[in-house]
Amino acid sequence: MEPVAEVSKKTPQEIGIPEVKGNRLIRNLNLIRKDWQLYSLLILPIIYLVIFKYVPMLGNIIAFRRFMPGGSIFGEEWVGLHYFEMFIHDANFWHVFKNTLLLSSITLLFVFPAPIIIALLLNELTSQKFKKFVQTTSYLPHFLSVVIISGMILQITAGNGAINSLIQFFGGKPILFMQDQNWFRPVYVISEVWQTMGWGTILYLAALTNIDDSLYEAAKIDGANRWKQTIHITIPGILPTIVTLLILNIGNLLAVGFEKILLIYNPLNYATSDVISTYLYRVGLQSSNFSYATAIGLFESIIGLILVFSANYLSKKFTDNGLW
């Protein structure tokens, strides 16, 4: 063994061929020097990524360290899993954890199919003008600030808002939607459907136009009606899109609409509206328990990461479609 290793170590110098690795390095350095203008364009974006993406990532280390406001952003001393133990024994944490899972699952259940159905309905329209009109109007909520959307939700669900005037018109009693914890989930989910059902159709409509027309012709000759064509041609045609978007959605399962909830919730409906991110916000920024909140945040991101990777893995295994 030894002589062989010695020989191979000596060979490059002995024969006079520079080491392959060093050679490539020098060649690369030369290329970079010649092409310095191209590489110079990378400097700012990389600095940006390091400071604003990777430093906060490393900043998560304060989940394991005691943090002093005004001290190092990476904390002062190690405390091990102290903060993790804290939230595992925190009943509030499990409460918001449950809320998050429930709210996001119900949201996914309704928000995900809505654009598919609308895209299929749009696809059956004969008038292109009407189709364009429906599309253009239904995209609108996508362009609004979450502050405006929250304002609209609060106005419409107010005691004297539009929904209550409809209820009263039919002889019902007005409901204080935002003061009643049982109404928070329906209000939130409906508003999410409202916001996303139009915009979400774009990728499905694109997939629909890519379906080969000859498939429909063949089906017609075989006597398949429009419904059968939809089941056997249209839906399989957009299935890859459905799967890909489902993976993306599952990966983001824990990321419920933090900003929107923060804007519309109130202590009267915390029982159903408080989610991990809003809890983390209150614990961290309003009560200044930075390390504790970071530990919760880190836990949330890791679960998110696991969700994305497992969803992608499963999808690759069963459908040959994956994000990477």
Partner: protein
């Protein structure tokens, strides 16, 4: 075979009705807010305002238009949007252009370095601590820098650059054109559609954003208009306002003021909407190719 069955004809009619309903439901909240903005307080409080203004007046508009803070905040939004868009588009273009070049050494590494941040981010608290320790509280930088590059947008742009014929640049470099000059005089003029998409993506995003301003600004004269609106909403939402005799009282007092503020905030977006919408759709399609 070519004749449509009766069932399908009925379906088509129902389909149109359903889609009209979708349009109605989408537009209702807007029309409701617009109607409220022209209505009297008493009529809104009585729950009479749906699509048509009741007790028509423009007094609330006059009140808001004479509110100095509103205009200062509005101006801030305009400034933040312009600065943020400029920084973002320049940074994104540089990054996307370099990563689109196959000759770049470490191209794969840099691309993964960027994409990884889409799946794992630092989270609220570490970001907050970073901005605080940079001393950016109450400065424009806290608003315009942290979101400067959206990796999603960068990938869209990179995909576009990759679709341009390589011969263009080869010809330019044979003629002795530097990378900078090639980018500025050959590539960018060909990239106007994607640049427009980027400008709109970033501009709409910063016009609508509120959270970083909410976290990092505490001086009223620095607020964007979204914070002005948020404070109106928060001030009147139930439970949180100390000293209010009843939550509903406050809701009533502010209802038409909130409505006017919402209309004025959303107006610029609505005016550019048809144009913006088209580019957004193109952008999403381009992005989905590589996503």
């Amino acid at each position: 075979m070519m004749k449509e069955s009766l069932q399908y004809k009925i379906f088509k009619v129902i389909n149109v009705i359903i889609l009209l309903l979708v349009v109605y439901v989408t537009l209702f909240p807007f029309l409701n807010v617009v109607a409220q903005s022209f209505s009297g307080q008493a009529e809104i409080a009585a729950g009479k305002v749906n699509l048509i203004p009741k007790g028509f007046n423009v007094d609330t508009y006059k009140t808001i238009i004479h509110d100095k803070t509103f205009w200062i905040n509005y101006k801030n939004t305009v400034v933040y949007t312009i600065v943020a868009t400029l920084i973002s588009v320049v940074m994104t273009t540089m990054f996307a252009y370099v990563l689109s070049k196959k000759r770049l050494i470490g191209r794969k590494f840099f691309t993964s370095f960027a994409i990884f941040t889409m799946f794992f981010n630092g989270g609220l608290i570490p970001n907050y601590i970073l901005i605080k320790s940079l001393g950016w509280t109450n400065t424009i930088w806290a608003i315009v820098i942290p979101g400067a590059i959206s990796i999603f947008n960068m990938i869209i742009m990179k995909t576009f650059f990759e679709s341009l014929p390589e011969e263009l640049e080869e010809a330019a470099s044979i003629d002795g054109s530097s990378t900078y000059r090639t980018l500025l005089t050959i590539i960018l003029p060909l990239s106007k559609p994607i640049l427009a998409t980027m400008v709109l993506f970033y501009a709409v995003g910063s016009w609508n954003s509120w959270f970083s301003a909410f976290l990092y600004l505490d001086k009223q004269e620095l607020f964007p208009v979204t914070i002005y609106l948020r404070n109106l909403l928060a001030g009147a939402s139930s439970g949180q306002s100390a000293g209010a005799t009843s939550a509903d009282d406050l809701t009533q007092i502010a209802a038409n003021i909130k409505a006017v503020t919402m209309v004025l905030t959303v107006l610029p977006i609505l005016m550019v909407y048809p144009f913006v919408q088209k580019h957004f759709v193109t952008g999403i399609m381009l992005g989905s190719v590589k996503q």
